[in-house]
Amino acid sequence: MSPDVLAPLITHADDTALMRLRARLAQESESAHLLDVAYRTVETPVGTLLLVATERGLVRVAYEREDHDVVLASVAARVSPRILRAPARLDDVARELDEYFSRRRHGFDLPLDLQLARGFRRTVLEHLRQIGYGRTASYAAIATRAGNPTAVRAVGSACAKNPLPVVVPCHRVVRSDGAVGQYVGGVEAKRTLLALEAG
């Protein structure tokens, strides 16, 4: 218990100063190459998206239903715990997403860091990037293109664990019977993205 003479110093959290200091820390850590991972969020028609970037490029995009806190903790464990909210590094990503969602952009021109996808999953992501705007492909077709026609389930799993949804368009992979199929952002989000691109 602190003496009441000191109470004003403790109860008065100086949020203005702390916001200013946080912005300065984000900037200085970026200049000093200490900011291994920067993040911010953006509001989109498919909800709030978490955007996460290393110095190499965009490393993770996450839907709200994935739980942003869990995603950041996972990035801390798998990439680096040197993580700060630092919007500047993600300005280009935010701008391109905004253009995409307003139908002014059909492809993303962004440096990507694919370190969270390895092996066959990484191969699948490379093939997903070949599916053009407004087009779809079946899980089976992607399995074939990835060199393993029987690995249809593995393709589904790679899509479900796509670290970069929206930007690497796993939403363009649908079932060969025409059904939309599942999606890391939820079926509704998948329908929204497909409708956006069809429009």
Binding site: L6, A13, A17, V70, R78, V184
Partner: protein
């Protein structure tokens, strides 16, 4: 033709990405949890202008060292220790700096830079003798136990407790509060 339904993330076997990992927290959370404490410490030990610089230096140094911080460490104690060292560095630098006519090294007059709430009270804390000021800061403003306070200021636990008590008594004299109704 029926194709097996691809596995959804929610129904897949448990993956690390679905659980809160037990590893180090994102550094951002440390700033959330301890940013205000470190700012109090810096303000109590330094002028308002120096305080913000020391806060920044503390968190930059902490960010640099964070991946090597052993799991289960007392993060608040660690951050306050870094702030303590940064404040000492700044006092030393000020002591080495040429003294300008009309300036007082320990208490520069800086109506210039960042404003702080409760300035008069901060001034009263900063006016305490160094050992009392540090003991009050680390125990009452940063909530460290006296053993840790003692380690930081080079005193025994009992001496740290006395310094903090003397500091509070001093404050009550120099910063009299309005009488309660």
């Amino acid at each position: 033709m029926n194709e097996p339904e691809p596995v959804d993330r929610d129904h897949d076997e448990p993956q690390p990405v679905n659980r809160l990992p037990t590893g180090p927290k994102p550094f951002d959370r440390l700033v959330d949890e301890h940013g205000a404490v470190v700012l109090r410490v810096c303000r109590a030990l330094l002028s308002p202008a120096d305080a913000e610089d020391a806060w920044s230096e503390t968190f930059l140094a902490a960010l640099r060292a964070y991946p090597r911080l052993p799991a289960g460490s007392n993060v608040r104690g660690w951050l306050v220790t870094i702030a303590h060292r940064k404040a000492i560095d700044r006092h030393r630098a000020a002591a080495r700096a040429p003294i300008l006519v009309g300036s007082v090294p320990e208490r520069p007059t800086d109506a210039v830079v960042p404003t702080e709430p409760d300035t008069a009270l901060w001034d009263a804390v900063r006016a305490l003798p160094p050992k009392q000021r540090r003991a009050v800061t680390y125990h009452y403003l940063a909530d460290l136990p006296y053993a840790e306070v003692g380690a930081l200021i080079g005193s025994s636990e009992a001496a740290a407790r006395r310094s903090a008590a003397d500091g509070v008594a001093n404050l009550r004299r120099t910063y009299p509060q309005e009488a309660s109704p």
